[in-house]
């Protein structure tokens, strides 16, 4: 297992770590200089970092767009395990960088406890990156998965006025960013995480079907 993880990290390459570190450092600097006007935590950990995790999964952890996909699909005993491993590595590393950013930015501006920051970050990051993994399984074109997720991310950002409709607050992806005081935000995070899990159910079924062929 460790050998496979090492091999996947080697495939992902150094650029991922350099870019992640640069992005994390930029956000830490921003946390120090942004002042009180910017709602730093929701913007950084609910909107920006989840999309960064999605870029990581779609661009560094690509599956069907990988030129060796056909060989892997034909030779591996379980395609799902390979997809999951790649996802866990890219999403996991992005999450580690997010946590580092949370810890350091909390040193500059302590507004929320770390556990709350993690809850703010994880569900949207998990949902968007799972969606990206799902698109990555269906489409072999490079950047298509991130294109689709990017458009969804932007449309969700632009449609925060939909929160006026009753019930939307339970599924809106960036609830803390749009309405920081919303009392149902924890339920919202549970719903979003559940939807993310359902996406993994679809990915599992799709991989099983590919394995069967």
């Amino acid at each position: 297992m460790i050998r496979r993880v090492k091999s996947e990290i080697k495939i992902i390459g150094m650029n991922f770590f350099i870019i992640s570190a640069a992005f994390t450092s930029a956000l830490i600097v921003l946390s120090a200089i942004a002042g009180e006007l910017l709602h730093f935590y929701p913007v950084s950990f609910e909107v920006l970092f989840p999309f960064f995790a999605t870029i990581a999964v779609g661009e560094w952890g690509k599956t069907r767009a990988d030129i060796n996909f056909d060989i892997i699909a034909a030779q591996s005993s379980s395609l799902f395990h390979w997809v999951l491993l790649r996802y866990v590595i890219t999403f996991g590393i992005s999450t580690v960088f997010a946590v580092i950013c949370m810890v350091f930015s909390s040193a500059f501006r302590y507004e929320l406890p770390l556990w709350e920051l993690l809850i703010i970050y994880f569900p949207p990051a998990f949902l968007l990156s799972s969606l990206c993994a799902l698109f990555g399984i269906y489409y072999n074109g490079e950047h298509i998965a991130i294109l689709a997720c990017g458009i969804i991310w932007l449309i969700v950002l632009l449609t925060r006025s939909l929160l006026r409709i009753s019930g939307v607050e339970y599924i809106y992806l960036f609830i803390r960013y749009a309405d920081e005081q919303n009392p149902v935000w924890l339920w919202n995070k549970c719903t979003v995480t559940t939807v993310g899990m359902l996406l993994w159910g679809i990915i599992y079924l799709r991989c099983k079907r590919t394995d069967a062929h």
């Binding site: 650029n15 991922f16 870019i19 640069a22 992005f23 913007v43 909107v47 920006l48 999309f51 960064f52 870029i55 661009e59 560094w60 074109g141 490079e142 950047h143 298509i144 991130i146 294109l147 990017g150 458009i151 991310w153 932007l154 449309i155 950002l157 632009l158």
Partner: protein, 253 residues
């Protein structure tokens, strides 16, 4: 010049043949019509939707923005794809100059973005003209449409296309996506007000006030309009021209 035109023609034709182009156009159009279609519900929700100029303004600033974001992804892979498929090596082995190759790619990307944006605006305005439940004179639709194409679509297309094509030729495409996501995210988070908009707004900067101005707000700040135009056109042209200066990009000539 003939070689530049050949590359422009190839870029233009190839991008239009991509299913993703039409998918993005469709997604943006559906989003625009859900948001702005002159139905009874939308007319009750949006105070000024009975004004064609407001419809064009809103379609350009909000929905055109989504379209630009989608096109950015398609444009960004033009240079990396040539590099990856070996097309660039093939082109370098021919009597093609660096400036011809880069100019063709940049202009092709710009014309493609501008054309798609024009199609998008015209299509939505035509739907509004036909579907509005009240009489709309044709000039009331065409005038803001022409204004939107000249004052907003042109500079926004120039900025998005030149940056999206040129930057991934110099930096990692993933890093470019990240920069673009941050800029577009900041743009999406901006809420319009009577004050001057920040200069870095792509489709909802103060240039758009040439199309429609909220009658409740008085706006006379020419400086911020110029700043917005200068940012979009200036940074687009500067970033586009950086590639010409990059020695590593092409064989030594």
């Amino acid at each position: 010049m003939r070689k530049i035109i050949a590359i422009i023609h190839y870029e233009y034709k190839m991008q239009f043949k991509r299913l993703a182009t039409w998918g993005i156009l469709l997604a943006a159009t559906v989003f625009a019509l859900l948001d702005n279609y002159p139905s009874a519900g939308n007319l009750a929700r949006l105070e000024f939707l009975n004004e064609p100029a407001y419809f064009v303004y809103r379609t350009m600033s909000l929905n055109g923005f989504v379209l630009m974001f989608g096109l950015m992804f398609l444009l960004a892979e033009r240079f990396p794809l040539d590099h990856k498929t070996g097309m660039k090596l093939l082109l370098m082995s021919h009597a093609l100059q660096k400036r011809q190759y880069i100019s063709g790619k940049l202009l092709g990307g710009f014309l493609y973005t501008f054309s798609i944006l024009c199609v998008f605006l015209t299509l939505n305005t035509a739907v509004y003209f036909v579907a509005a439940p009240f009489p709309v004179p044709l000039p009331a639709c065409t005038l803001p449409l022409v204004k939107a194409i000249i004052v907003s679509a042109f500079p926004a297309s120039l900025f998005v296309s030149l940056c999206s094509v040129a930057l991934p030729g110099m930096i990692d495409i993933r890093l470019f996506y990240l920069f673009a996501a941050i800029l577009f995210g900041i743009n999406a988070a901006y809420v319009g007000s009577a004050d001057t908009a920040p200069f870095y707004m792509i489709t909802s900067g103060d240039l758009i006030r040439f199309i429609w101005v909220n009658p409740k707000w008085s706006f006379h700040d020419v400086g911020s309009i110029l700043a917005n135009g200068a940012f979009l056109m200036g940074s687009g042209l500067i970033i586009g021209s950086l590639l010409f200066l990059s020695h590593r990009f092409w064989r030594s000539e």
